[in-house]
Symmetry: C2
Subunit: 323 residues, 2 copies
């Protein structure tokens, strides 16, 4: 397969952890990887090919403006490698908005797709993740876009997690169709009439981390708020519980329990999920968490490889065209 | 003081747990309590006065319609007791929307308040809770309402938690003023220009359960989604961690750690926070969690007593009038 392009400059721990992860992915998974970034910053590329890009888009830069002005940035160049058939997929842990903009502007959209959406896997203990989208590509959406999000999210749940007929829920503030904003009610009616998806009606925030639903659709503002609320809650609880477990009162019992909780903690860690996927652009684009470690990059490259091999983009195109 | 009116029929565990909690509150706190409900359902009122109401508004009933048609419901009668000066406050664990509608229609609004808001305390380990509002009174809001939410939430944080100058954050999807929807950006500008609040700018979902902010304002749709997302995440984690701690592998170490984690679990339990407060109506109205136990009702009555004694409603009226 064509190599996976990894943005060496994107992420809080770039380039060190990113380059290390890319090298490990090539080594451990046997997936061809090409790095994109500033040669002076990357240093030793660990045996990988390095495509030079002289600019870097910072984590806090305005997405649209930075992509427009920084044409030789690692993000834009990575997207161009996919567009030009020199890479099969791109992975970045950098500025999410700029990643969306780079992919959208350079790869373009799948024919018929109104807007792309960030699909983020939300871990569900003991089961496959719930796919939440849009988790932040488009802060303001139109109801018809959410129908496509539902179609694309369903395809993704099938291709990535093997769910045959994913149950799609619309995020609202009550199960009844009468609950929510005018936007949500209009979207409800469109989803109820949409073919080729298994729409189960409104779901609430408390359903996301359960087995009650496989795909949750919402606008990018609400989805991003939900995602970051979950992150914050997990971080607060993990640190509070961790403090108790390592306290003198807990002693050896704490150490024993800490070991037993490790698999659960790993399952909840965004580093293990392989990152979010930008659905609707004409190529595989993986958006890793900003704090990605090398392990996160290994997982992201692994998911990228799977999605390329299973032709996710082709399946999305068929689903959207079939409407 | 005038008695606190407790809706005996509201909540998943009504009337049993509610009546038991009301009796305990009167007994343990010395707060006068009056029950409102169907005498045949309540049975022995545990020595408390019972105001008879022949109807019950169910948890899933349409709020506006049920309040309009069920004039002799326990919820509507409880609000009327406050309006008529026969009770100092009302507490209900029933249908949230119907509680909001009952309080709004019977007590009326504080002069100058455009819309009321549900203010929910979000626990922060080791610190005072963050006040989140609106957590569901108004699914669709106007930017100017959020300025009042900020003023009222600040007063509430001061009166209830003793925070001298609460820091107010606007919930968005990035710290920069340019982030978010058109609604959020317009609200940002109004908040930045508003007097008498300490506006610290946008905050994200991950800040809510931290000490970075004291009051988080948002529209009622987003606030309710956040609240239920947090509830779901906590429930999932508590049950996953609990399963590990009581497993054979954990053994006695699990039991030891379970005991050490009890204070944290209690701090995270909505039963201990005393419930949400409807701010902006002309009376104290406490909205307890639907699953409230008797302990939750004791806490709710305790908070109601405090807010009456500290004249929260008077302080809110002054703050809103001072704009």
């Amino acid at each position: 397969m064509l190599p996976v392009a990894v943005d060496a400059m994107g992420g809080d721990r770039a380039p060190g952890e990113i380059v290390a992860g890319a090298a490990r992915a090539a080594d451990e998974l046997g997936v061809p990887v090409v790095l994109v970034g500033r040669p002076d910053a990357v240093g030793d590329p660990g045996g990988l090919e390095l495509v030079a890009a002289s600019e870097v888009i910072g984590m806090a830069e305005d997405p649209a403006r930075s992509v427009r002005t920084k044409k030789d940035s690692s993000l834009v160049r990575a997207a161009e490698l996919v567009r030009d058939g020199r890479a099969s997929a791109m992975v970045s842990a950098g500025n999410t908005g700029a990643t969306v903009a780079s992919a959208l502007l350079r790869m373009g959209r799948i024919s018929g797709v109104a807007r792309p959406a960030v699909a983020t896997p939300i871990p569900v203990p003991g089961s496959h993740p719930t796919v939440l989208l849009d988790a932040g590509a488009m802060a303001e959406c139109q109801p018809s876009w959410l129908v496509q999000f539902a179609q694309m999210g369903s395809v993704y749940s099938t291709v990535r997690y093997g769910i045959e007929r994913p149950r799609v829920g619309l995020l609202s503030i009550g199960e009844e169709p009468s609950k929510g904003t005018a936007f949500v009610k209009e979207t409800y009616d469109l989803l109820a009439a949409a073919p080729a998806i298994d729409f189960i009606g409104n779901v609430e925030g408390r359903d996301i981390m359960t087995t009650a639903v496989d795909v949750v659709v919402t606008d990018g503002f609400t989805g991003n708020v939900v995602l970051k609320t979950l992150e914050g809650a997990l971080r607060t609880l993990v640190s509070s519980i961790g403090a108790v477990l390592v306290s003198p009162e807990a002693g050896e019992a704490g150490a024993h329990v800490l070991g037993l909780l490790a698999p659960l903690a790993a399952a909840m860690d965004p580093d293990t999920t392989g990152g979010a996927m930008l659905l609707g652009v004409d190529g595989v684009c993986i958006i890793s968490h900003g704090s990605s470690s090398s392990a996160a990059i290994v997982n992201a490259v692994s998911v990228a490889r799977d999605m390329v091999e299973k032709d996710l983009v082709g399946a999305l195109a068929v689903a959207v065209a079939a409407r």
